[in-house]
């Protein structure tokens, strides 16, 4: 009975998403990315890829910075991309638009979501995630339910 109620609730929430409402999504983070537009052309600035990616380092998540100008942001030992305010300022000197995207693996394959920089920093690749999202056609994560705040830290 409870399963039925949950199912119905999820169907209703998904229907509402298409109409502009919100839904609760859970899954595992497949990979993250930061993109931007420079000189009239859009490009991927960096990707945070999971442990099982064939280019990942030592079977751990890794960060592939595609733009050589920002290679210094991370080292090969960094597993999770955290973009600080200062980093974003540097990016904005080259890119006119910065977007943060999270690709979540669930029972529909991998679905993509826009996210704020602050939430992007809290979402870990290759780990479970649960959130509220709304908007169409590509939803934006509006509230992060899991993971919660870690160790009381204030994220940059």
């Amino acid at each position: 009975m409870s399963k039925l109620v949950v199912t119905l609730a999820m169907v209703l929430s998904l229907t509402s998403v298409a109409c502009g409402g919100s839904e609760v999504v859970q899954g595992k983070v497949d990979h993250n990315g930061v993109t931007g537009v420079a000189e009239g052309k859009g490009s991927t600035i960096l990707r945070n890829v999971p442990a099982y990616d064939q280019d990942a380092v030592d079977d751990r998540p890794s960060i592939r910075v595609k733009d050589q100008d920002f290679q210094g942001f991370f080292t090969s030992k960094d597993e999770h991309a955290v973009i600080t305010v200062e980093m974003e300022k540097e990016l904005r000197q080259k890119y006119s638009d910065i977007s943060y995207i999270v690709h979540v693996d669930g029972d529909q394959g991998t679905q993509s979501y826009f996210v704020s920089r602050e939430v992007f920093n809290r979402i870990l690749v290759d780990r479970p995630v649960r959130f509220e999202a709304s908007g169409a056609p590509i939803p934006t994560i509006t509230k992060l339910l899991e993971p919660g705040e870690l160790w009381g830290l204030t994220w940059l």
């Binding site: 990979h31 993109t35 977007s99 029972d107 679905q111 934006t140």
Partner: protein, 282 residues
């Protein structure tokens, strides 16, 4: 000039940013219509004789194995004989299982009709990474997956649509069909027992927050290839039965052998498909 605005972005764009959108892997918004490539056909046909309904996806950025048909399980497949094989998400991501149930003729007919009523025939192929929005702005997205929906129409035509991200002409129909198939559950369904499956094994640096089982098939299965890559193998017969008996879920788990942890991904094959040659060439 209105611009879709998201946290962390600074509108508006210059109109010139649209140049090169077709090949660029990026996410952004624009106030101008997006260029289009050579139009894809509105729909395709599929060549899977026994399939009545199938919901599949194709990644554009993911692990290598998922690009291959033998590296992922379509979340929903209804066959002509009433066999339904679907992915049950469970309460959490790590409780996912592939389930199987046999539907009656009436139930099969009703399910096909439901998908049609939700607007399947209105859906068209959409392969661009960008889409114009109703408010005159545009949106682009990189690395998203394609949704692939296949339905055998009452006329017998095997119609397939392939849609990038959530784009296309009818988001309401797409979302309604996807959610209906995604949320499908049947009280009589049982875990699917495939005749064959693809087995991917990779060593783990450490097993964190997971239950690690003992590996029971022997060390030869755990060997990497000459390049140290994850190896794909076909598993069937007694070996598959042993695996399925030792794991709580039929899509894989974590194991250990002589102190080394491994993650095993099991990809059950649907009936009437044979990926043996493709796996051997992987």
């Amino acid at each position: 000039m209105s611009v879709k605005e998201r946290p962390g972005t600074k509108p508006p764009w210059a109109a010139g940013i649209l140049i090169g959108l077709l090949v660029a892997a990026f996410v952004a918004c624009s106030t101008e219509p997006q260029p289009t490539a050579t139009p894809a056909p509105d729909t395709d046909q599929f060549d899977l004789p026994d399939v009545l309904i199938q919901f599949d996806y194709e990644p554009t950025f993911s692990t290598p194995e998922r690009f291959a048909p033998f590296g992922r399980v379509p979340p929903f497949t209804l066959l002509e004989d009433g066999t339904l094989i679907y992915l049950d998400e469970g309460g959490r991501y790590d409780e996912q299982r592939v389930m199987e149930v046999r539907l009656s003729g009436d139930d099969v007919e009703a399910l096909v009709q439901q998908v049609l009523d939700l607007g399947f025939e209105r859906l068209e192929n959409y392969s661009e990474q960008c889409q114009n929005l109703d408010d005159g702005t545009g949106m682009c997205l990189a690395d998203a997956s394609y949704t692939v929906l296949r339905v055998r129409l009452p006329s017998g035509e095997p119609r397939q649509v392939r849609i990038y991200a959530n784009f296309g002409s009818d988001l309401q129909a797409l979302e309604s069909i996807r959610s209906t198939l995604r949320e499908y559950s049947h009280p009589d369904a049982r875990p699917y027992v495939p005749a064959k499956a693809t087995l991917f094994i990779r060593p783990m640096a450490e097993a964190v927050d997971v239950t690690v089982l003992d590996w029971e098939l022997g060390p030869a299965w755990l060997e990497a290839d000459d390049k140290g890559r994850q190896r794909a193998r076909v598993v069937d017969g007694d070996a598959l039965a042993t695996l399925l008996a030792s794991v709580p879920r039929n899509v894989g788990d974590s194991f250990q052998h002589e102190g080394q942890a491994y993650h095993m991904t099991l990809v059950p094959w649907l009936p009437l498909v044979d990926f043996t040659a493709a796996v051997a060439a992987y």
